[in-house]
């Protein structure tokens, strides 16, 4: 799926009217099948950018095009159908605690299912093999019939990723998808997700705190700082100096990400506290 942003300003709907817009003048496009990582210090507007692309937040100014059409000009019904073709994975996995993992994963299929099918699937899960395979790829096959509230934070995050893997979406928007995983698991989860996206021909836009991982796995890196696009470069052209400038005055976040990329023996770096207004 192709997405384009042109000179977009955006603000969180709950923000006070006088607050500065979370994003200012963003111009960015992603081609079908492309994978790009969004990096930047906390509060740079990464989550807002993903919500914009997910048609969850209308731009205040500028233009958003998804596959050539402007989603906010569409009727609500058509827009909802378009939303069925994209998949936003929030940083905090949105899973009801009493649900079983298999149901949570298969919820990613809902846009492609009729109401009757989805109700039948509550009584007997519609496609257990698909859910099992997605979970197996993320090393969670044994949790298939567990309840979500029996899982650890990292396991929940991987269940949310598995939901994207089974979804019919062609645009995956991942908000810090590996923030709760240990370094080895993070590597593996990213690799699996990107492989699967390639197999589906899905476009991936992921915001990441671990810059090292972004450089390892994504061919294209977008830097955001204070709501403005700092750079949009192929990974080969990204110099440490540019990264240092992106994280100026937020060096600990850049440092923290480097320790996180060290071998598994090291304890997982404390995740920087990110305030997400939801």
């Amino acid at each position: 799926m192709r997405v384009e942003l042109e000179g977009v300003h955006a603000r969180h709907p709950a923000a006070v009217a006088t607050a500065a817009a979370a994003l200012r003048g963003i111009t960015l496009s992603a081609q079908p099948g492309e994978a790009l990582a969004v990096v930047g210090p906390s509060g740079a507007g990464k989550t807002t950018l993903l919500q914009l692309l997910a048609c969850a937040l209308p731009p205040q100014r500028g233009e958003l095009r998804v596959d050539g059409q402007q989603p906010w000009a569409l009727s609500r019904r058509v827009l909802q159908r378009l939303r069925g073709q994209l998949c936003l994975v929030p940083q905090v996995p949105p899973l009801p605690p009493r649900q079983r993992v298999v149901t949570s994963v298969l919820a990613g299929r809902l846009p492609a299912m009729s109401l009757a099918q989805s109700i039948a699937s509550l009584f007997y899960p519609a496609d257990i093999p698909a859910a099992h395979e997605a979970l197996a790829r993320l090393d969670l096959a044994d949790k298939l019939f567990e309840r979500v509230d029996r899982l650890s934070g990292g396991e929940r995050q991987r269940v949310a990723l598995a939901r994207a893997l089974v979804s019919p979406a062609r645009l995956w928007l991942l908000d810090e998808p590996i923030s709760a995983l240990d370094p080895t698991r993070a590597q593996q989860a990213l690799q699996v997700t990107l492989d699967e996206a390639r197999k589906h021909g899905a476009t991936v836009v992921a915001s990441l705190h671990q810059v090292e991982l972004a450089l390892q796995h994504f061919p294209r890196i977008v830097g955001l700082r204070e709501g403005v696009l700092a750079f949009d470069l192929p990974r080969a052209e990204l110099t440490p100096a540019r990264l240092a400038r992106l994280y100026a005055q937020h060096e600990h976040e850049l440092q923290g990400s480097e320790t996180a990329a060290e071998p598994a023996a090291a304890p997982p770096a404390p995740a920087p506290a990110v305030m997400h207004c939801r």
Partner: protein
């Protein structure tokens, strides 16, 4: 004369207003007492004391004839049936309306403010629910006894309407009170409202919804006995008949059965709710 009055600064300035208020209340209440024939002392008049004592004395022994006990058993069962059928019908009213009202299931509210059409639809259904529950079931029962005649049907309909409004409003409140993120995420990824309800809201709130429904069922059993007094069938109607015939023994038996029934419903409902928690 004037010397006897204290200095104006020492008089309570609120005093005059207080006296006026009390006189007004008395003047307003007097016609009400007259209109309602409020004469509590007649309760203690020797004549009424004699009648009450006679009636209470006739409570013992409670009636225990085989035929009568069979009748009481049948009517007790009918009372439970009225309550259960009423609640089931109420669900047909409450569930669709609660789904219509719940804000969390709004697609247009995903991107900030809810659109005007859906907003007024939600508001309209909410008012309808308030209207349904603000008319007491006793009034509905009186209306339906006129329309469909004596028997269980008016009781069932009365409970269905009042409890439909009550359940619908409380369901919507329960659904809105929980964590909205799972439902919002499903809606944002293109699910329909009902799908988002089944996969997001329901697993989160199912226990609370069921527990409240069971509690209301228990309330319906109690209220269906009262409904019987206006002719809506069940134990209440029999009790009303026996009271009018001054058959104290029968009244006593039915009161005992009624207390046992309410206690049993209370135990069952508490047990079910504990199992669900």
């Amino acid at each position: 004369m004037d010397a006897a009055l204290p200095h104006p600064a020492l008089r309570d300035p609120a005093w005059r207003g207080r006296v006026v208020l009390m006189l007004t209340v008395a003047v307003l209440l007097w016609p009400l007492f007259v209109a309602t024939e409020f004469k509590p002392w007649t309760l203690l008049a020797p004549e009424s004391l004699r009648v009450s004592a006679g009636f209470l004395a006739s409570f013992f022994p409670p009636a225990h004839g085989g035929d009568f006990l069979l009748l009481v058993a049948r009517e007790t069962w009918r009372t439970v049936a009225i309550a259960t059928a009423g609640i089931v019908l109420a669900l047909f009213v409450a569930v669709p309306m609660a789904l219509l009202v719940t804000r969390t299931l709004s697609v247009s509210a995903l991107s900030g403010r809810m659109a005007r059409g859906p907003f007024w639809l939600r508001q309209g259904v909410r008012w309808l629910l308030v209207l349904l529950r603000s008319v007491p079931e006793l009034v509905w029962a009186l209306v339906f006894v006129r329309v469909v005649g004596l028997g269980a049907t008016p009781g069932v309909l009365a409970i269905a309407l009042t409890y439909g409004g009550m359940l619908g409003k409380v369901y919507a409140e329960i659904l809105e009170s929980g964590e909205a993120a799972p439902t919002t995420a499903l809606l944002r990824n293109g699910s329909s409202r009902l799908q988002a309800f089944c996969y997001g809201l329901l697993p989160q709130n199912a226990a609370e919804l069921t527990s409240y429904t069971v509690y209301r069922w228990e309330c319906a059993i109690r209220s269906s006995v009262v409904l019987g007094f206006v002719g809506a069938g069940g134990l209440g109607q029999q009790m009303d008949n026996s009271v009018k015939m001054f058959a104290g023994g029968e009244v006593a038996t039915m009161l005992i059965v009624f207390i046992a029934l309410v206690a049993l419903a209370d135990r069952v409902s508490a047990g079910l709710r504990r199992a669900l928690a």
